[in-house]
Symmetry: D2
Subunit: 361 residues, 4 copies
């Protein structure tokens, strides 16, 4: 069941980079939602490759076909299956005997007893995040009816850091325009610096990592549960499903390890009958349950392992140590393309949590 | 189902800090395991409070009673229920109308519509980690038969950092003795510095945070699955279930965000027919699946919010802003008590993953 | 996970006939339900043995201890663990080398690799239905707030059949008094005939089977889902969990196999704006989803395999064919004790379905 | 999650009768299975309509397209998505305001708040069993490698009953040829009688019900678990997912209700070191776990509610009682087409149980 996620709003992912198609079955969709395909295509466009110098020239034919679960433009409540054909594939670029460093070639071979489809990373391909974005765009539409929104900015690319977000009163208008930017930096000067970092990596046939910070606004208190269904557990489980994510932290996260309780604690205050916290170091979650403040977390995106530089590795057929250059088309930086994926993963998890919350409200 | 975890090896947690008892039902236990209660009690002792100046003087009566699933000293394969009575409780210390900063008092009240047992944090109490340690100690015994072991050291307490661990060839003998130390630092001098940090926080009626790094040795390649059942997803989901954990990172984690691909990638090498990586920045996981290297991750433990200092908060009955000192018994630092909990959570997840791996091997 | 059931209202069963205790963890309980322990004890009393000549003289000490999840008499919304101590046990009655015909001695031995607790059937014991009745009694209290009630009568014991129930307009007053009868027959004359059947079997050191019919009133239309979560699938899955159940049929069930569509179809009619069916052959379920009519089903309870007569079997140690009489205390008929178990299993399933229905309403 | 089934071998169903396509995602498939598409197409042909006078003339374009999870003719171990386009549809036949008796039109409307795709029964259509047959045909190939086979015959159609099957030593050669027969009767004379029953129903614009008996050979003892994961629970849950199934019984099922324990019990015997039972009234299952004997069960298939006769019903728009004839193409009997569906449902469940058994063996 590696490819299913969710309890009430549930997605089942399928496909390989070079199979006939990739796609997703989305179950537990509330009935009667008018599908805004423009919005869905906009979200998919944010993730799509080939848009600029930062990303791979492979022009994916990501056009999604909805096979079921929608009737007269509205969701029926039965499963929505969406497929995206794999058309623009160059299988000859791949050599299964050469296991690419930090890719899943070797672990995947072990996992599937050598029967995995190795072309383009197969099922491990980042291309599988396209159906996640589709499902997430649908989830976003549904949670937005309850005024819950998901915003993300790039926290850093390499050594270039964006401005900090106010966790208590985030500047919504600054967050709203991020999705139309080439690089989702709040500070446009930093965006330009980051572009230089990316182009420099590209010039060296190299890649560069970064991190993304996400803010969920409008989420009511009392969502989630203690322990194994904590909001942190549920979100982290989904976020670590996104390829290249290697760290997830909530609120101020790592900084907690250097702090005193008196510095870290978020004091409560009441004003006009509404309880809030003065700081939001905990990222809107106490005991695994939302407290009514914005939920905030960050993820680290490792530099894509697909680089043009010569690397040391192993030929698993000849069992020799070799050096090899990875051919094919690569992104020098996948952080900006990961932004809509992280938001989609977040929205999927939130919708599932919110549906469950109806059962205990 | 907030209180159940696992697919094949499954635990169901129950209890409140001041209910009759806390405990856990452990299902999917392989039959025929000779239960080493000494080992289990040793692990529970590592977590128990009241052992020294660093932890709360509340002397928990954690003695576990095994109600089922064990016959003639061996596991039967049917569910093991373990209970621990709550005896040493001082209910008068708690005032439900005063919501303690950064505790689950307020979010819990929202979650359970005001019916939550507020005494001692109720179901949100850190005391609920005792049954997790029991289940984890059992899981450790089972995975050890396959030479899989879980070691943890304290990475830092406040500004005091322990020595680094070699991710490729960890020093097993140094790791093995950690569980007998008062503070699980590899470097004993740093341990003394950390003690001072803790005692200093205690002296100020304050608390202090830290982080824990865990190394899993002996885990074969090919364990786990892509996407939603990635080893990262599964471990993170469980680790974020542990109260006070606010960050989880795999391998070098956050450092990836500042790196180039050429620096970050783990080159493969073959020697005597055995494939390994030269570095282990990815912490033994590629594409969500183990690659045969040690699995390494770190978690951040926030400073316990229970401090003796006066804090600003709200009286939810009178709806007034107030200041209050939290009465009761507190740990100045919970990092050292969290170490066996993190190891237990890890072992539970690993056993579940390893049982599932039998189905695709 | 053989011992957990449910998606949102979830029970985890544990215990063996002769272990320290048996019990259940009940998770997903709505918070704020005032626990009516008298009602729960009444339901448990209906199942308890030793009440009359029809049942085993073993006087179970079924007194349930609530360890968690209840505070000031109300459910907290966190897991309720209930245990029942095993006190009145006579272990010497059992001989593991002699596998009792139609019991789980042999299949259980295979399942658990010989490590199962064989005393009194161990985990397979009918005694494990006591915690199911506890959980079901709680579920009944919750669904009754929505006017959903579960009634059962004995359809037949051996060749003695009770009167038929009207599936469209069941006689609620006749159903309500069933739970106070020694044998839950609507027709008291038939009850007397059935008593004679049971006593006759008892006189011959034999046992006798029967069937139970259940009617759920007040259940709204639109509950359940097509295919794998059909109301039939969900109920049958739970009903076949009850030991000795070997058949489950909905509505007129088996009769359908002999009918024409024109005879079998339930015509719709509207009166005062309310749509109902003129017959209810389908037992209130179309396409797996309730249609607003009473839900009706029957289960067959096989004669308990524990009989005093000499039977042919195998000594699995000496590997010889033998004849043996089963010692110990036996029920000549378990149908009447199964009635509250079937109702409990039904209520547990219904509550889970109704909670889920909140997410798509 | 109404549309997902299974723990380790998992299927997710999607599609409506008149949506773009129907299909299934099959996850947890062991890697390295050579896909025998001829065998799969043979099984799908057994279910396909339009083959003879007994079934609907709608010629489904059931040709399955495999989108993922197969590489070079072998399963990769990643999800297999299969779609079947809906091409031969006549939407004009359907009138959503007229709710057809005993169909899911009304309950489906309630379930999905009026947004369900009503054309041809939408998601409730029997056509959705085609992907189940695909998944089942794959499962059959996998379990056959362990010598586990699934055979079914028609037990009766209306009043015409087939010969009985020996539950202890079923005549395998007689069972093997059933799948090539027009009607899966062991006794060919009875098959002819059944044909007359069906044609007689057809002549009257009516339909007729029946029942199917299934025998699983080669299944080892010790499969399944007590209580909620009993083999009966697992199979029944899946079997009641098949549209039109209204009764499931194991072994002699309903007959148990009329029997004494001394008649019903299956005595054990040992011969050449192999333990078996002399009778197999329990259908190979004791305490929810297989005992090594053939597993036997029967299901009742109600007469399809789609009949050409005039029926009483309701117009839900005008809210009037009306009479209506259902237009469109109908099967007079769906029992023979249900046979491969029941076998498929069985094989899917068995494979899931067998994969899980690897974890406790």
């Amino acid at each position: 069941m590696a490819n299913s996620y969710g309890k009430l709003f549930r997605i089942s992912l399928f496909g390989e980079s070079h199979s006939e198609a990739i796609g997703v079955v989305i179950d537990g969709v509330p009935s009667g939602i008018e599908l805004d395909m423009n919005e869905i295509m906009f979200e998919m466009g944010r993730r799509a490759p080939g848009k600029n110098a930062f990303s791979t020239p492979r022009s994916e034919d990501d056009f999604p076909e909805v096979l079921s679960g929608v009737f007269n433009g509205y969701t029926t409540g039965t499963p929505i299956c969406v497929t995206m054909r794999n058309t623009n594939t160059r299988s000859s670029d791949y050599h299964p005997e050469i296991i690419r460093p930090s890719h899943a070639d070797y672990s995947g071979k072990l996992r599937y007893n050598g029967f995995n489809d190795y072309r383009g990373g197969g099922h491990f391909s980042g291309r599988l995040t396209a159906p996640i974005v589709f499902a997430g765009a649908l989830a976003k539409q549904i949670i937005k009816k309850q005024n819950i929104e998901v915003f993300s900015h790039i926290k850093n690319i390499g050594k270039v850091h964006d401005d900090k977000v106010d966790y208590v009163n985030p500047d919504i208008s600054a967050l709203k325009i991020l999705k139309n930017k080439k690089l989702a930096f709040i500070n446009d000067d930093r965006a330009k610096d980051a572009e230089q970092e990316i182009l420099s990596a590209k010039g060296n046939a190299d890649s560069i990592g970064g991190s993304i910070e996400t803010v969920i606004t409008g989420i009511p208190g009392g969502i989630g549960s203690p322990f194994f269904e904590s909001v942190e557990s549920r979100l982290a489980s989904m976020l670590f499903s996104v390829p290249a994510v290697k760290s997830v932290e909530f609120g101020i996260g790592q900084e907690f390890s250097k702090m005193l309780g008196s510095e870290a604690n978020d004091s409560f205050a009441i004003e006009d009958g509404r309880i809030s916290t003065k700081t939001n170091n905990n990222g809107g979650i106490n005991g695994g349950v939302t407290n009514g403040m914005p939920v905030v977390f960050s993820v680290v995106i490792k530099p894509t392992p697909s680089i043009g530089k010569e690397q040391e590795t192993v030929n698993v057929e000849t069992k020799e140590n070799i050096t090899a250059k990875i051919q094919g088309r690569h992104d020098p930086c996948i952080v900006q393309r990961a932004v809509p994926v992280i938001e989609a993963a977040t929205a999927i998890t939130l919708l599932d949590l919110i549906l469950e919350a109806k059962t205990y409200a």
